[in-house]
């Protein structure tokens, strides 16, 4: 469904991504794992239209995404929840969700999707009228994910949804992700929380200093000694 070929991203002289190729199949959940500054957000941002790559290709359902402006991607069925969430802090929860439902593809189904989002995050239903910027970090992440779902996406791009959240809230977010995944949505996720992510994902790519250095089924990677050492800490083996 999504093909990224030989993608190169530079910021001035700095090379953030040096020829990365990945693919994501329909209905798959694919994780991107890597250390800080490895280029994960740059890769995801390029797919979501936020970052303009220097060279390479991004095709989605056979269409060249790099020719489209960022705002056109929602209509193509791609929803990005960026690092820092990208919500509208000055608007209410309901208004944030309404904005999510702007694309033509979502308008007709907005009512039904909103019900699904409220089932997924009951807190959003209770706090409809609250100004989003006054919510806790976890609640704001729910607004961000809920708003992305409102656009009826086929491909959901998540950049570190658990960043900066308390462990209990992280669990809540991953529980929601598990349900979103069960609904059959294709997901590409960047995460530091490798353990929880690999437990959920089908496959993962490992990225180091702008290059893809490994990939494979999540189950295999979870027990791969190198991955355990780099991302999971020694305890992972005993646990699984």
């Amino acid at each position: 469904m999504l093909e990224v070929t030989d993608l190169r991203i530079t910021y001035g002289k700095h090379v953030a991504l040096d020829g990365a190729s990945i693919s994501v199949g329909a209905g798959e959940m694919v994780a991107i794992l890597g250390a800080n500054g490895a280029g994960k957000s740059s890769l995801l941002g390029a797919v979501g239209g936020r970052v303009r790559p220097a060279s390479g290709q991004v095709t989605y359902k056979g269409r060249d995404l790099l020719r489209l402006p960022q705002h056109a991607l929602v209509e193509e069925g791609i929803a990005l929840v960026p690092e820092g969430r990208g919500i509208f802090p000055g608007l209410s929860v309901a208004e944030n969700l309404d904005l999510g439902a702007r694309p033509r593809r979502a308008k007709a189904r907005a009512g039904a999707i909103r019900e699904q989002v409220f089932t997924l995050f009951p807190k959003l239903a209770e706090r409809r009228a609250q100004i989003a910027g006054t919510m806790s970090g976890g609640e704001q992440q729910m607004v961000a994910i809920g708003r992305a779902l409102m656009s009826a996406p086929d491909l959901l791009l998540l950049d570190e949804p658990s960043l900066g959240l308390a462990p209990i809230v992280v669990q809540e977010v991953f529980a929601a992700l598990a349900r979103i995944r069960a609904s059959g949505l294709t997901i590409m996720i960047v995460e530091q929380n490798a353990r929880a992510t690999l437990a959920l994902a089908d496959r993962a790519y490992l990225i180091e200093a702008g290059r893809i250095t490994g990939s494979g089924p999540a189950d295999t990677l979870r027990t791969d000694p190198a991955v355990v050492r780099a991302f999971l800490g020694g305890a992972a083996v005993a646990e699984s």
């Binding site: 402006p69 209509e75 509208f88 904005l99 694309p103």
Partner: protein, 288 residues
């Protein structure tokens, strides 16, 4: 006496509020600080006079013609002149500087054009200037009509911004432009619409001012400054605050003119401006 001041002040303030709404839209949504704003008001005022005197077009019909023209002019101006500035500037601070310099130049360009075309003399029309009794106070009918136009246009805008999907998108861009593309909003397009809408409001304000006030080709600066004072008083981008601040300025000016001296109204405006800047730079109703 007090009732007279109150009513005349509100009527004047309605025009000011409408005048300032366009500027706050242009700055709040399109992020262009338009120093030529008052010139657009003036062009529209002259257009109304020319249509009335030259072609006998009734002013109320003229406004209906002028407003969409204002929108079109603003739309084109944004696409041709402002968009390149926005694309190049990168951050808000640099865009402020670039837009202030560019529109400062534009101001002299338009003013020069007006001086050449209409000369430096004061202009006015006589239109529906019989007095109407409002709560015992005689108010010129043309002023009442101007006030009604302000209420309809300003109120319509507040409703549209607050209650429609289109208004929601405008507010989203005004508050958090960086997030807007994530929900499929074309920021460039919304900014162009905001600027065009602001120009249309400037045109409506100018045309309604021309119905009851004397003006000349060099008055644009005064309109810009008054609008700016109101926008800052009301809080930049705060539509409701702008409406209230506009009405307040009309009241203060009328009070100063009747109770102290008509020559002091401009001084009073800037005294308020200074006090607000020093005491509440975020505007009278702003948080923070």
């Amino acid at each position: 006496m007090l009732v007279t001041t109150l009513i005349l002040g509100l009527v004047l303030g309605g025009t000011y509020a409408l005048l300032a709404l366009g500027l706050t839209l242009q700055y709040g949504i399109s992020r262009i600080m338009n120093l030529a704003y008052g010139e657009f008001t003036l062009v529209s005022a002259f257009a109304l006079v020319a249509l009335f005197k030259g072609a006998g077009v009734p002013p109320l019909l003229a406004i209906v013609l002028i407003a969409p023209l204002g929108y079109a002019v603003g739309w084109i101006l944004y696409a041709v002149m402002m968009r390149p500035l926005v694309a190049r500037a990168g951050d808000a601070g640099r865009l402020d500087v670039a837009s202030i310099l560019a529109t400062f130049g534009l101001m002299f360009l338009i003013q020069g054009g007006l001086l050449v075309t209409f000369g430096a003399d004061f202009t006015s029309i006589t239109y529906l200037d019989q007095g109407v009794n409002v709560l015992g106070v005689p108010v010129a009918l043309n002023r009442l009509i101007a006030f009604a136009i302000c209420v309809v246009a300003g109120g319509g805008l507040v409703l549209a911004l607050g209650r429609t999907r289109w208004g929601l998108a405008l507010r989203a861009v005004a508050q958090t432009p960086g997030s807007a593309p994530l929900v499929g909003i074309d920021v460039n397009r919304v900014a162009r619409q905001g600027f065009a809408l602001g120009t249309a409001l400037a045109a409506i304000a100018g045309a309604s001012i021309a119905m009851h006030q004397t003006f000349s080709a060099t008055d644009g600066v005064v309109f810009t400054m008054k609008a700016l004072v109101i926008v800052i008083m009301g809080g930049v981008g705060n539509v409701a605050g702008t409406l209230i601040a506009g009405l307040a300025l009309g009241l203060v000016e009328t009070f100063v003119a009747t109770a102290i001296d008509p020559g002091l109204t401009l001084a009073a405006t800037f005294a308020i401006f200074l006090v607000v800047l020093l005491w509440r730079p975020q505007g009278l109703f702003g948080r923070r």
